[in-house]
Symmetry: C2
């Protein structure tokens, strides 16, 4: 075990709670000289849950441009249309109103707007490509899940090639994010369950690795997991109870804002495999994590045994050598959220998925993933097959 160096930097200002839209004009004005704002959103749920109307009322002194239709798994060709609007109207502030897909999409939009040439080239270079420049943006979160509202990373899809690529950079942090727990009340049960699962798996990817000497980061990860376990049944039962909605929302943000990652060993290979299930079969991101995660933990049990035991003991109250029981508890947690954990529960045409994913990883030169850089492609294939 070692003490690892780390950087921690997160300049996003969080406005958490109720009735905060009145502060938007001041927040926006502190980041732009203009009064033009491009408001980006998704399929229009913000027009049903009151967010759109409250937002427009608060921004009545601004020249508002709108871009709607950012899809789940935001699509390169869609996003490039927003880039054109920014260039045409010389806009220099964007507001992302939505969940992780809209916020991720806007991170790409604000970076691509400053990039000469085809921004897809940047994404093709390697996972986690960094853009050097971006125009400023803020976020109004409508779905607690991905943590995108307080980090600088994004995942962008290109459907013609069935690819998902990650990007980021210090310029891609939201300047501010408004987190209002009230939005949870208007979400379908399925999306709340997805959000809980997403936050839970984000935490596990940064925790179920090998022990380092970052004892506080481990305690915080355990605190997020414990809070999610306590919150999950309550927020599912009564999503309009703001106290549980608030806990889900803050856990999801804290799970991926850099706090947990500081100095620890992290994995992320569940995400890398799971992204392909979304790309190939269109399964919700959170659900692909629930499908792959437990199978990956089992295949890499000897790598992760110490932390799985600690997880079982501290988070689930199990005894001694409880690694496998802890994995079963995790699966049961997903099932209690009505999240199936087998690929056959989602699609019929799952045969060949494992081989296809391995082929893609090979093409991109992705190998030796995971916290010990020892997850081989044969193991990836086995994990996916075990998930059928």
């Amino acid at each position: 075990m070692t003490v690892n160096n780390f950087d921690y930097y997160n300049p996003t200002k969080i406005l958490f709670g109720k009735d905060l839209y009145g502060r938007l004009p001041e927040e926006i004005k502190s980041h732009t000289q203009q009064t033009k704002v491009l408001v980006c959103y998704g399929g229009g749920s913000i027009k049903l849950n009151g967010v759109y109307d409250r937002l427009m009322a608060s921004l009545k002194d601004f020249e508002i441009h709108e871009f709607s239709g950012i899809e789940a798994n935001p699509e390169y060709t869609t996003l490039m249309k927003a880039v054109e609007i920014i260039r045409l109207h010389q806009i220099d502030f964007v507001l992302a109103v939505g969940g992780g897909s809209v916020i991720d999409g806007v991170k790409f939009i604000v970076a691509a707007a400053k990039y000469d040439g085809d921004p897809w080239e940047v994404l093709q270079r390697k996972p986690g490509c960094v853009f050097e420049e971006a125009i400023g943006f803020g976020a109004i979160l409508t779905l607690p899940a991905t943590g995108s509202e307080m980090n600088s990373g994004a995942v962008i899809s290109r459907s013609e090639t069935k690819e998902k690529r990650t990007m980021g950079g210090p310029m891609c942090f939201p300047k501010f994010s408004v987190l209002d727990p009230k939005v949870v009340a208007s979400l379908p049960q399925k999306q709340i369950a997805n959000g809980i699962t997403d936050a839970f798996m984000h935490t596990l990817e940064q925790y179920l690795t090998y022990p380092t000497w970052n004892l506080l980061q481990e305690r915080i990860a355990e605190g997020i997991l414990q809070t999610l376990i306590e919150t999950a049944p309550e927020v599912m039962k009564n999503p309009s109870d703001e106290k549980w909605a608030a806990n889900l929302m803050w856990c999801a943000t804290m799970a991926l804002n850099g706090t947990l990652r500081a100095g620890v060993a992290y994995d992320w290979s569940t995400h890398m495999i799971a992204h392909e299930l979304t790309a190939l079969h269109g399964i919700d991101h959170a659900r692909t994590l629930a499908i792959i995660g437990p199978n990956l933990f089992r295949i890499k049990l000897s790598n992760k045994r110490e932390k799985l035991n600690q997880y079982g003991q501290r988070v689930w109250g199990l005894q001694d050598d409880c690694a496998e029981e802890a994995i079963n508890k995790t699966i049961q947690f997903f099932h209690d959220l009505s999240i199936p954990t087998r690929l056959q529960d989602y699609v019929n045409n799952y045969e060949g998925t494992a081989e296809e994913i391995v082929k893609r990883f090979e093409q991109r030169g992705w190998e030796n993933m995971g916290e010990r850089q020892d997850l081989r492609l044969e193991e990836v294939e086995q994990i996916v097959k075990n998930s059928y």
Copy 2:
């Protein structure tokens, strides 16, 4: 219990770990057009522990001005001399090299340098005065304790009037802070014990109040306390063991960087009373917290019972109704660090201290302090008398 709105904003970049001084030139250059830097430090321990030499080697391309002699409980008249140097040489970046006193002092220096008129006037207005402007500064932390390296607050003293005043503002965050656990090895045992006590009491002030629905913030507070309890005996025994030094350092930073405070009820009346013990008797800040804290918890037991029970159960592994036992555990924790918890252990002339503190609070109009705004001056007097 309610869900409270909160803002969270902390733009300080943390560089944590070993051998990071080589990155200083780049970090400084990203915040100033000049190559002038005012390096501020304390009594000169940085010349004995190697920090000064390593720092100067890394800054060889800069025009360095120096200001030494910032004392524990940094003094207004001392700090104003640094302000004069900044104005004389038109310096626009400062490096604070030291512990909480030096970093606090530099926060005042960088704000006062931009303030026309007598900055003491600002501090006189009310506790926690906000300066609107400041020049940029970074910090090299040499003593884990106060958390000043990752927040925007400071405490400034004026010995002629035996006063301590708090200040802050969003412009007073360090642009970056370098946290190298190696520095712990060169500290006297007494300073390590003070640092642990300071971080522990910062956490308790934001935790031992009344329950809110901020469940994750409570878990993180408990995680810091547990990590400090685990770390304390080890780092005292072997301060050159970097893994324990690193845990102490990160706990102290996280205890006061805004994470714990988000939405919870906080107290801070132990600090308000304890500051007066330092002002009147010159006792180290951390030690005054250990003197006052437990006595305040006892006087306000009925206010704090639910959280004291939770603290006893989750942090100390006690059973059921354990509020008083949890306070005793806290006192024992300080004693194990060789921190006495009675005023008579430090000074002989303690008679009259309680009345003097009450008089000062009256003069400033400070009353009804604490998380429920119900700590009366009679109770303050009793707390101080119980601490004799």
